[in-house]
Amino acid sequence: MSALDVIVSGTMLAQTVRMTIPYACASLGGVLSERSGVVNIALEGILLASALAAVAVQGVTGSAVAGLLAGVVAGALVGLVHAALVVRGRVDAIVSGLALNLALGGGTRFVLRALYGSSSNSPSVRGVRFGEGLGLFARTALDPFVLSTLAVAALCAWGLARTRFGLRLRACGEDPSAAQAVGVDVARTRLVAVTLGGAVCGLGGAALAFELHQFQAGMTGGRGFIALAAVIVAGWRPWPAVGACLAFAALDALQIVLQNQTRVPAQIFAVLPFVATLLALAVVSRRSAGGGAPAGIGKHPA
């Protein structure tokens, strides 16, 4: 089969959709956090922590639901720590995010060795078994992770635009001083927003781990950062962020096929998603100065 046949096949499409999930969840988490005014580069670390938590808990309990919940809770916890450092501690959000990524990158390896005595990967878990008797299309469209990601995206979009909490969240992101002046508890709103964002991102981490049926050290491979770029490219809006993630995931799936199917050195294709991210970022930043960023991002109420 030639490379082109593989690329235009239905399997490839299904693969792309499945690969979108971790990106999409992370970027939805990023949207929630950044619309409230807190920059979140800790997404990478959140993905790692929640992937490990999901695998560890499923390994012990044997339950996929428990594993999933563990991943979400782990994500929320890291989000909460990030929020507490930034909102209450007034630490620079990028510094806090970098420190968390560093600590969680090392911490997940540390726990991996503590639990399983391996520095590379955990034993395999079952993950989520779904739709063995169904056709490819139904199996992808009805995949619990695909459905829940879509549901979360819809909830984010609706919640941000239509609910009281969403309005307050956006107010904190656009002008924290004004929000505080009209009686919004900026600190608490941001704490909730970033924690929720962490939980959503944690869903993506669990999906990533279950997809591969194990935890691998450094398995996120920059997905959190690409998701953050997707947030910027999408102008901090939920549905466009999912769309941007779909595009990046398609590139990711494409580079894996190209690596396997052609004789060109693999490294050329491996950098493809990152080059594309860089280009997209340049184009979007040029088109609109600021790119629709929340005006109060990184600012504290006076």
Binding site: I41, L85, G89, R90, V91, D92, I94, V95, S96, L98, A99, L100, N101, L102, A103, L104, G105, G106, G107, R109, F110, R113, A114, S119, G222, F225, L228, A229, I232, P265, Q267, I268, A270, V271, F274, V275, T277, L278, L281, A282, V283, S285, R286, A289, G290
Partner: protein, 362 residues
């Protein structure tokens, strides 16, 4: 009592205390004895002259990359890309250093090699610099992407002919381009990989931190970091200065290959010096533009890295990465509190006399 609280809030103390607490907790949670591990940690680092040499060796690239990140930070830019800049620069050092004629004297070979490395580092930083200056793309994301791209590009170049066939390393650099080991002059460091690059690193740090205060470029960059709009109003070419700061930062990150390629291995190997770029971010966050801060930060994280290796048989060395993260958080937290407290003191007298002054009191 109040004074005691102030002193306890001092960022360095907070960082060390939090790091120590986390060390004890994590070691204990892993099932080892914190007391024994701490003794082992000390023995493996500052306890012997070999260990001390190894700490200096680990601290050398960290000091260069820390200085690099710090320079960008003065302009208000986060250069997370030191990792990629160093990778590309190290390859350049390995390639150029090994292609020089064997008999090239050190006075020519060393500057040429390190010049090539710094140029490569600056070139790698030029992409995010241009994206920032011309398009306004956020440098944090673009430098992180450039790190990933560097990984692929270095791997590709190594695989496609720059390395010796069948390996992932270049040929040995010519003798003139090597930085001598410290044990050539101080036999006590025998066996450790520390080289005179550590002396160069300290000298460069002193020069650059001095230049921040004494040169026009340095002061402009620092003032842009404080208030870019004011500097633009003063007709300072802000965009150019930001681009130049990132380029200089990339060049300094590339200079870290003095400690790894030229001082340690004598050739470039894929993955050599990995992690020094990210460590540099930590050093810069601790150092905050002060000579002493940067040197001590590099020594602290060098100690942690070397200590991690000393403990690795009993406790995973990744423990030290967790500690790094916690130390950064604690220092940043204490620093923010301190600044809030100082800010209060500074703004109070300005706010208070405003009313009487308006009333025309003499």
């Amino acid at each position: 009592m109040k004074l005691l609280a102030r002193v306890l809030q001092a960022p360095a103390v907070a960082g060390l205390a939090a790091g120590w607490l986390a060390f004890c907790l994590l070691v204990w949670a892993y099932g080892a004895s914190p007391r024994e591990m701490a003794a082992l940690l000390f023995e493996g680092t500052w306890g012997t002259s070999y260990g001390a040499g190894q700490v200096l060796f680990k601290a050398t690239p960290l000091l260069f990359t820390g200085l690099a990140v710090d320079l960008a930070l003065r302009a208000g830019l986060f250069n997370i890309g030191a990792e990629g800049q160093l990778a590309v620069a190290s390859l350049a050092a390995g390639v150029v250093g090994s292609r020089l004629p064997q008999a090239t004297p050190a006075i020519v070979a060393l500057p040429v090699t390190i010049g090539a490395a710094m140029a490569a580092g600056a070139a790698w930083a030029a992409v995010p610099a241009l994206l920032k200056g011309r398009f306004g793309a956020h440098e944090v994301i673009s430098t992180i992407m450039m790190n990933r791209i560097a990984e692929g590009v270095v791997g590709l170049l190594v695989a496609s002919g720059l390395a010796l066939t069948g390996t992932v390393r270049t040929a040995d650099v010519v003798p003139g381009a090597r930085v001598p080991r410290l044990d050539a002059l101080f036999p006590a460091f025998r066996g450790s990989a520390a080289s005179f690059a550590v002396v160069l690193a300290i000298a460069v740090t002193a020069l650059v931190t001095l230049a921040h205060r004494r040169t026009r470029f340095g002061r402009e960059v620092g003032l842009i970091g404080l208030n870019a709009r004011a500097m633009a109003a003063e007709k300072v070419p802000v965009r150019r200065r930001l681009e130049q700061a990132l380029l200089a930062s990339g060049a300094l990150a590339g200079a870290a290959s003095l400690g790894t390629v030229l001082g340690y291995k004598g050739y470039f190997e894929e993955g050599l010096g990995a992690g020094a770029g990210f460590g540099g971010v930590a050093v810069a966050l601790l150092g905050r533009g002060r000579f002493g801060g940067l040197v001590l930060g590099a020594l602290l994280f060098g100690t942690l890295q070397q200590g991690g290796l000393a403990l690795n048989a009993y406790v995973p060395k990744e423990l030290m990465e967790v500690l790094q993260g916690i130390v950064i958080c604690a220092v940043a937290l204490a620093d923010a509190r301190l600044r809030a407290a100082v800010g209060e003191v500074l703004t109070r007298p300005l706010a208070k006399p405003a009313a009487p002054a308006g009333g025309g009191t003499p």
